[in-house]
Amino acid sequence: MLGKLMKYEWKATWKFLCIANLMIVVMTIIADVTVKLDFFAYDSDSMLQFIAMMVMMTYVLSMFAMVIGVAIFLVYRFYTSTYSDQGYLLHTLPVDKHHIIIAKVLVSALWIILCEAVMYLSVVVLIASNGELVETITDSMETIISLAIAENVQLKGLAMVMTLIALLFNLFAKLLKVTACISLGQLSANHKLLFSVLYYFGIYVVQKIFSGFYFVFTVAMIRKDNYEMELYGWESMLVSGIIYSVVFYLITWYVMDKKLNLE
């Protein structure tokens, strides 16, 4: 059933997210043309330079719109499909609640990674706008290869992989924090969305307090024992990502399975 849930989750989300990505592609092409035509070389009070500035500003704004729009869309999608009228269908399907959560989080994570990849490529294209794209990519590849054959090849390769895994768990933790807060908000009799937002900020504050304690503890350890450790290396990122993912996952599952309250 997990595969089917993911299929329908993908079907329900692909249109909006493809349009958002298409918008970035179109804006990248327009901005790329603007840079290539060198509109900025004209007089500062010329219309062409004004147009160029407007294009670049729209490009930057479209990037922000993409980030905010995708986040709002995914949160809204989770809420409507899980705890509003559509939840009546979802929660009467003969499927495991674990599968529901996993399907939603995996599809959302996949979309976020795709959107971020599109944004990253867009910036690369603009940086290499004057026909230097191939060189930019080649340079990047050479850098990566030179890193791989460097002295601490194993450590650097491992660190790179572990950093990617840590980033992935942090993404899961962020998504699951949202699902946990929306789920907790459903426990209240009234103003469920308001309580979801309050839970989000409450958990955010608690997380900040924890990271503050961690910072103080680590600095103290480094000073006391002269430890060779990084304050914000992949290790701490991975551990916090896993812990938060597990905690938020369990909260979401507990509310969905044991305390469901579709009024």
Binding site: S81, T92, N261
Partner: protein, 232 residues
Amino acid sequence: MAPIVQCMGLTKTYGRKIALNQIYLNLERSRIIGLLGPNGSGKTTLIKIMNGLLKPTAGDVLINGQRPGIDTKFRISYLPERTYLNPGMKVIEVVQYFQDFYPDFRMDRAYDMLSRLQIQPNERLKNLSKGTKEKVQLILVMSRDADLYILDEPIAGVDPASRDYILHTIVSNYNRNASILLSTHLISDVENILDEVVFIKYGSIVLQAGAEQIRQNEHKSIDRFFREVFAC
């Protein structure tokens, strides 16, 4: 065989408000049962608990001898009192959705009913009228070979002509070995198809009896009797 539904001291409270109060209820198989009560009497709360959409404050409910869960959801076909389909989906897509998740779903039956109602499979749900959307939902629910059909106010929001079609659809399409629990406050429209009635008032069961038994003992229709029992 054990009853299809067993409620044992089922209680649900919202803060201080008691929605269901110590309900003991057995529903037998192969029966069409009317769950009748005025608005706010606890009908929908009871139905939601049976479907696992609400958790009881106390007591227990068993469907086919099991607590609400994955196994009972395979056996219950549930029509809520609201539109629960994604409005962006086409009719053909929601039919496929049901086919994917419910092994007892009969696609041929669904398309037969859709064609008789001249509902186009490629139409998006958001383009359909409220009444047509309700009919699509009913078709999906009645196209399953379930053990228990739970229909929450299936005729509340539709015109009298459509009510006849809906009741006809229910009676002519359900699995004959199954039971139907039909919740409504529009008694006169449904009383002719009922085998049994359950009256619920202020979250308590006030009567459970055969439909014919009430007519014979009280010498009046169920609708008339309901109006007396629930007179304000």
